[in-house]
């Protein structure tokens, strides 16, 4: 490197300095654009979407766990109902043998037969009740689930729509920056042109002076 480099006396060094400044400005513009692009991923909103997704998943788990518990209870009731019903059927058969060919079934015996016949309808009624209770509880969860799912969907759509706007705004800022770079380039070109013209005039004047002098 020549010793006199960076004393900004030569035209080339001035041009180099201008280029350096121009390059710095372009780098800064690129940085601004990059930052804009990164802001497209709205972290806070994304976190909310994830939170809603989690809530929806929890509700689904809650509903399926309740359904499973309901099925388990119903299976148990059914099993016990069958056993009791079978026992009662045996009791009825035994009672009928005991009655033999008696023509009149008296009060206590009638009551016994009715009680013996109860387990099956009772079991069925109990199963219906358990299922209804489970459905009622699920209904509230479903409503919450639907509301949460709708919220999540709406949030996702609004997030996407905001991204479209961001891209549009980003595009605008790109256009703005490109225009400004264009203007800078134009100004730079004009500046260099003027410098060259001034230099040429000085050289011409010097040549004229030398020629005439």
């Amino acid at each position: 490197m020549p010793a006199e480099f960076a004393d900004y006396t030569s035209f080339l060094e001035v041009a180099f300095a201008i280029n350096l400044l121009f390059g710095g400005w372009k780098g800064f513009a690129r940085f601004l654009l990059e930052r804009r692009r990164l802001s497209f991923n709205r972290y806070a909103v994304k976190t909310r979407v994830e939170a809603v997704d989690d809530a929806v998943e929890r509700l689904l788990e809650e509903i399926s766990a309740r359904n499973e518990a309901c099925r388990r209870v119903c299976r148990g009731v059914e099993r016990w109902g069958r056993i009791v019903g079978f026992v009662m059927a045996a009791v009825i058969v035994a009672a009928l043998f005991a009655i033999g060919n008696r023509e009149v079934v008296d009060g206590p015996m009638l009551a016994g037969i009715v009680v013996a016949a109860l387990p099956v309808p009772l079991t069925m009624a109990l199963m219906v009740l358990v299922q209804a209770a489970c459905r009622a509880r699920n209904w509230r969860s479903y409503r919450r689930f639907r509301a949460e799912a709708r919220y999540a969907r709406a949030l996702e759509y609004v997030l996407a729509a905001n991204n479209v706007l961001d891209v549009t705004a980003g595009h605008q800022s790109v256009v703005r920056v490109l225009r400004s770079i264009g203007r800078t380039s134009w100004a730079y070109g004009v500046g260099v042109g003027l410098l060259l013209a001034v230099g040429a005039v000085i050289l011409a004047l010097a040549a004229l002076y030398l020629y005439l002098g």
Binding site: R150, A154, L155, Y157, V158, A161, N162, N163, H171
Partner: protein, 207 residues
């Protein structure tokens, strides 16, 4: 005053704007461009309604008939005619969601709004082949959009072009339009359908 449908009133700038819009509509593609002035807005609204083949979704404040400066918007006969042109097409839809109550004089019925009146006339003439559905957004949905910074009035044409008012201040409308942007139009249409339209309360519907 500039009338977007009367060339004699156009300045050189307006002529350039309107002819550029026409060219972009013909080509079916554009970068996004500004559309804030009321006469620019009304030109695009009429163009979207006229050019649409399937569905136009419109989220508006109250379907204003005239701006405070007296520029006709939804009372503009070209806009009404464009809406009628759309609804003569088989299976077409004009879905409108309003933020406030519709812009009719106090005590007058909703059906007295020029746009709705025009469509009803079309229905009487037996030329209505599409469906007009005007609804009013619920407070919850508006609050949701406000909360998430997306309470923008918008118009989406056939899921391929859109106009979006980017400034929520009704007195200082700044809007952007993009023609032939399927991604953007589909996204805004989803917001319209799923967030606004689904729960909105019916105001006027044709059969």
């Amino acid at each position: 005053m500039i009338d977007p449908f009367d060339e004699a009133t156009w300045s050189e700038d307006e002529r350039f704007y309107f002819t550029s819009v026409d060219q972009m509509l013909r080509e079916g593609f554009s970068d996004d461009f500004s559309n804030g002035k009321p006469w620019h807005a009304v030109y695009i609204i009429a163009a979207f309604l006229r050019e649409a083949t399937q569905c136009v979704r419109l989220f508006s404040g109250k379907l204003i008939q005239y701006t405070p400066d007296g520029v006709a918007i939804y009372a503009e006969p070209h806009v009404v005619d464009a809406a009628k042109t759309l609804l003569t097409r088989d299976g077409s839809e004009l879905k409108i969601v309003l933020e406030d109550s519709i812009d009719v004089d106090d005590g007058r019925a909703v059906r007295k709004h020029p746009l709705i009146e025009g469509v009803r006339r079309l229905e009487k003439d037996g030329r209505l082949n599409g469906r007009l559905d005007v609804r009013r957004a619920t407070k919850t949905d508006l609050e949701f959009l406000r909360e998430h910074n997306f309470l923008h009035h918008m118009m989406v044409m056939d899921q391929r072009s859109w106009r979006l008012e980017t400034d929520p201040d009704p007195d200082d409308v700044r809007a952007r339009v993009k023609i032939g942007d399927k991604w953007g139009a589909r996204t805004f249409a989803r917001v319209f359908d799923e967030v606004l339209f689904e729960n909105a309360e019916p105001v006027f519907q044709t059969p």
